[in-house]
Every structure is written in C-alpha cells, then in structure tokens.
C-alpha cells in the first residue's frame, strides 16, 4: 500500500516537473510582460507599457495581420481543395487512388525545407517570381495533405449506401453530396481546417523561401529581430513578451471554450 502511494506521487512529480519545464519560459514572459523593465533580470513596477508599444507599432501590427490573413486564407483554400480531393480520391479507381495517396504523403513526411526549396526553385526556373501567390501555394502544399488525411478516415466510416439511397430517391449527385455526404464528413473537414491554420501560423521555413521581399510574418520577424538584432532594440524584443502572453491567453480561452461547448453538446444529445 505504502509502495503504491509512493509510486503514484513519484509519477505525478515526474509529469508535473516536465509540465513545469515546458511552461516556465512562457510564464516568465507573461510575468515580465506586466513589468516596466525592458530586460529580463531587472525588476520595475507593474505597467502595461509593453502592451502599449505592441499596439502602437505599425510594423508589428502589420506582421501580425499578415500572419493571420495568410493563415485564414491558406487554411480555407486548403480545406476546399483537400476535401474535394479526398472525395475524388476515395471514389477513384484503385490505381489512381494509390498514386494520389503516395503523392499526398510526400509533403507530410518530407522535411519542410526540402518542400520549400523544391517549390521555390521550380517557380523561379519557369520565370514566376516570388510573390503572394507563391507564398500561398507554399502554405497550401504544406497544409492540404493534412486536410486530406483528416477527411479520409471519416469517408471510411461512412455508410456508402446512404449516397446511393439519395440518388435512388431522385437527388442529383451534387445535391446528394452536399446533403448526405458532407454532413457525415464535416468533423474531419473542421479538424483539417484547424490543423491547416495551426500549421500555417507556426510556419517559418516555407514562408522564408516563398515570400515576396518585404513580407513579414510573426515567425520571420521574431527570428530576424533575435538573430540579427542590429536595428531592433530591447523595446522591440520586450513587445514580443506581450505578444506571447496574448497568444497564450487566447489559446487557453479557446481550449476552455471548445471544451465547454463540447460538454454542452453532449448533454443536449443525452
């Protein structure tokens, strides 16, 4: 009995320690984001000066806007292309299906840097300069395969005779697809969309290769500010503390919110 309690608390301590290590840097930044000092290590008084700087710096606001718009746009396009692609693939002849499945796996397993390099060299070789279009294609190459991978399992779970029943009852193929198939696979479509957003928001490498000159996202801007910190002062760096804290809080709220919603839905279903 004593052994079990000891074992249990050891396990809890181990998991707790790893969690603490993972969260310590973020929590430290969160604490310092409400402090007036510009360098971690000093200690001033409570202040919102970093948040003020963040919301008054047009360059930083611009790169945040770029990141969000790019993520939403590429996730939306990837979800449409990937959902249609998954449907087409699933009902194709075996040989075509296999070929597309393998091609779909290439960006998933490949190192991001190889995908980015190959795509950019191809574009420039055929005379397409780097622009917002190439950036968008780059993000879609990265995201769409994951949308396909989250829709396919839902298609496998679906009862195929439903679609045929809809056709027999006089629905056009398009209508049957929209009214019968789509509602069945929508959870996969949504999780694909969410995954596409997170992949795009997080990306550094594909963006750096395919972006037009002068275009900055959070990733590229923070990377440049911290590694080539010549023109960036401590003030810019400290506004990242505020940015990290805001993103962290938004994510926690989102997770809590979706959990609560999920619980409510379950209760309603009961």
């Amino acid at each position: 009995m004593k052994h079990q309690i000891l074992g249990k608390s050891l396990k809890a301590a181990f998991v707790g320690l790893i969690l603490l290590l993972m969260y310590a840097p973020i929590l430290l930044l969160a604490i310092y984001s409400f402090n007036s000092v510009n360098n971690i290590g000093g200690w001033g008084e409570f202040s919102l000066v970093h948040y003020e700087k963040l919301f008054n710096d047009p360059v930083i606001l611009n790169m945040i806007g770029n990141t969000v718009v790019l993520a939403l746009l590429s996730a939306l396009l990837s979800t449409i292309l990937g959902t249609a692609g998954a449907l087409g693939m699933y009902y194709c002849k075996k040989r075509v299906k296999t070929a597309m499945t393998v091609a779909n796996q290439i960006p998933v397993i490949n190192a991001e840097i190889v995908t980015a390099l190959a795509l950019t060299i191809t574009f420039v070789s055929v005379g397409i300069g780097r622009s917002y279009f190439t950036l968008l294609i780059g993000h879609m190459v990265m995201c769409t395969p994951f949308v396909v991978l989250s829709v396919i399992p839902k298609l496998k779970q679906m009862d195929n005779s439903l679609y045929e029943a809809a056709l027999d009852l006089g629905a056009s193929p398009f209508k049957a697809l929209m009214k019968v198939v789509l509602p069945q696979i929508i959870p996969g479509v949504i999780s694909g969309f969410m995954l596409a957003i997170t992949l795009s928001l997080d990306d550094y490498i594909v963006t750096v290769y395919t972006r037009p000159s002068g275009f900055e996202t959070i990733s590229t801007y923070v990377y440049n500010a911290t590694t080539k910190g010549n023109k960036h002062t401590a003030a810019t760096l400290s506004s990242f503390w505020a940015l990290t804290t805001i993103i962290f809080v938004l994510i926690v709220l989102f997770v809590l919110g979706s959990n609560l919603l999920g619980r409510k839905n379950k209760e309603v279903q009961k």
Partner: protein
C-alpha cells in the same frame, strides 16, 4: 457533350495541384542535383550533366564534420525526447484519472503558440539564468542550449503518437501476462514495449527530421555557432542551387528509405494529433 458531375471529378483539381506543386518540384530537385551550370563565351548559361556536386560536397571535411554534428544533435534530441515522452505517455495512458485528457491537453497546448515565439521565450530564460554565477556556463553552452530547445519544441510530437498507441493496447493482454506468471517488468518488455513500437517509430521520425533541418532553434539558441543540415540548404539556396538540391536530394532519400522501412506511406499515425 454535356458535362456530367460525378464524385471522381472532384479529385481533378487536387490531382493537378499535386502534379504541379509536389511531383514536378521533386523532379526539378533531381535535375538540379545532377547538373551544373556553365557559362559559355557568349555569356549564355546552359546546364550539363555532372556528378561533381556530390564529389565537391563529400570531399570537403568541414561540410562532413557539420553533417556528423547535425546527425549527433538530432540523435541526442530524439533519444532525450523518447526518454521523457515514453514515461509521460505511459503514465497518462495507464492512469485511471478521469481528467487525464486535460493533462494531455496541457502537453499539447504550447504547440499552438508560434514556435519562434516559444524559442524566443526559452532564449530569454537562458539569458536570465546565465546572469547568475551558478549558470554562467550557459552563455557558451551552445550545443546544450540547442538540444534543450529542440527537446522543448518537439516533445509533444513524441508524446502524442506514443499516448495513442499505448491507449490502443488491449488491457486484457496485461492480465494475461500476469496470469501466465509475468511480473511487471516482463509484462512491460514483452507486451507493452513491442506493441507500442509503431508509436515509437512515428514519434522518432517526427522528431529526428526537424531536429536535422529546423535551423531556427539552432540559430536562435546557439549564438550562430551551431550549424545543422537545414542551414546548409538555406545557405546554398542563396548562391548555389545545384549544391542545395544535392543536399535536399540526400535528405529526400533518407526520408524515403526510413518511410519504406516503417511502412509509413499507408498509415495515418502521423497526422500530428489532428484527430485529438
């Protein structure tokens, strides 16, 4: 002819997309890796077939030593990730807590913060620690900081597939093992470990590859002293596409072989926790 809608036609746009933006770029890499550009007397550039890219790269001792360092960094990162992630995944999967899903969420949650910002947070904490005399050695411990940063960043990629596979193991197998006289250790080594191999494999590939190629971590934490294979490709991208493609091709072959070995082309294990 009247266009008739069918489900198959929906796949055409994606098939075209895959052909132009996935298949053809891979062929372009192949082409560049095996050619060099020559400028003739009139100033026009033309390509010629050559294997010299490989020779040039592999006869350069500094390049080779960087590759070895990069492989060692990736290997150490992967092993540490596995040593931390396996117990965590195992404890969580075996736990009878009702709320264990919440704890798993806590491990996944940092993944949604932009990873450059996360690495930046770690950079700040290292700076803070190195102010105190006890941690002064951190200032020049570039390899330590790089590996720590990679573990910090890629740990969730290891925990998730491990947790999923350990959860899938049929609980009655444990009972069977103990009924047949196996103690806890035998049960672990003969039942749990072999059955969680697919999770280990997919976790290892998801950590090993980025830790060879994701140069953001090594640049931000390693004071520009740590070079990994990914940085090579970027440097070549700026001046020599043939060499860059050659390095990319080598990475491509490594990935392809490891995928064939682990049978990853058909599996849906590596969806990065999409269906969580």
């Amino acid at each position: 002819m009247k266009f008739r809608f069918s489900r198959k036609t929906l796949g055409i746009p994606y098939a075209v997309f895959l052909l132009f933006f996935v298949i053809i770029p891979m062929l372009v890499i192949l082409f560049y890796a095996f050619t060099t550009t020559e400028t003739d007397a009139s100033g026009a550039e033309h390509f010629s077939f050559a294997l010299s890219n490989f020779g040039k790269f592999f006869s350069d001792p500094t390049k080779l030593s960087t590759i070895v360092y990069s492989l060692v960094i990736a290997l150490v990162t992967t092993v540490i990730c596995l040593l931390i992630a396996y117990p965590v995944a195992y404890i969580l999967a075996m736990s009878k807590l009702k709320k264990k899903f919440v704890i798993l969420m806590l491990f996944v949650l940092p993944m949604w913060i932009n990873f450059v910002l996360r690495v930046n947070a770690l950079r700040e904490i290292f700076n803070l620690l190195s102010l105190s005399p006890a941690f002064e050695w951190l200032q020049s411990a570039n390899y330590f900081k790089t590996i720590f940063g990679m573990v910090f960043d890629f740990l969730p990629f290891m925990i998730l597939p491990l947790y999923t596979t350990i959860m899938k193991i049929d609980k009655s197998l444990y009972e069977a093992s103990s009924d047949l006289g196996g103690n806890a250790l035998t049960t672990f080594t003969r039942v749990t470990l072999p059955l969680s191999m697919p999770g280990i494999m997919s976790g290892v590939t998801m950590v090993f590859l980025p830790s060879m190629t994701n140069y953001v971590v090594s640049d931000m934490l390693g004071n520009a002293k740590v070079t990994i294979i990914g940085k090579f490709i970027y440097d070549y991208f700026c001046n020599d596409w043939h060499m860059g493609s050659m390095v990319a091709l080598i990475l491509l072959i490594v990935v392809f072989l490891s995928t064939l070995l682990t049978g990853g082309f058909g599996s849906e294990e590596n969806v990065r926790g999409a269906n969580l």
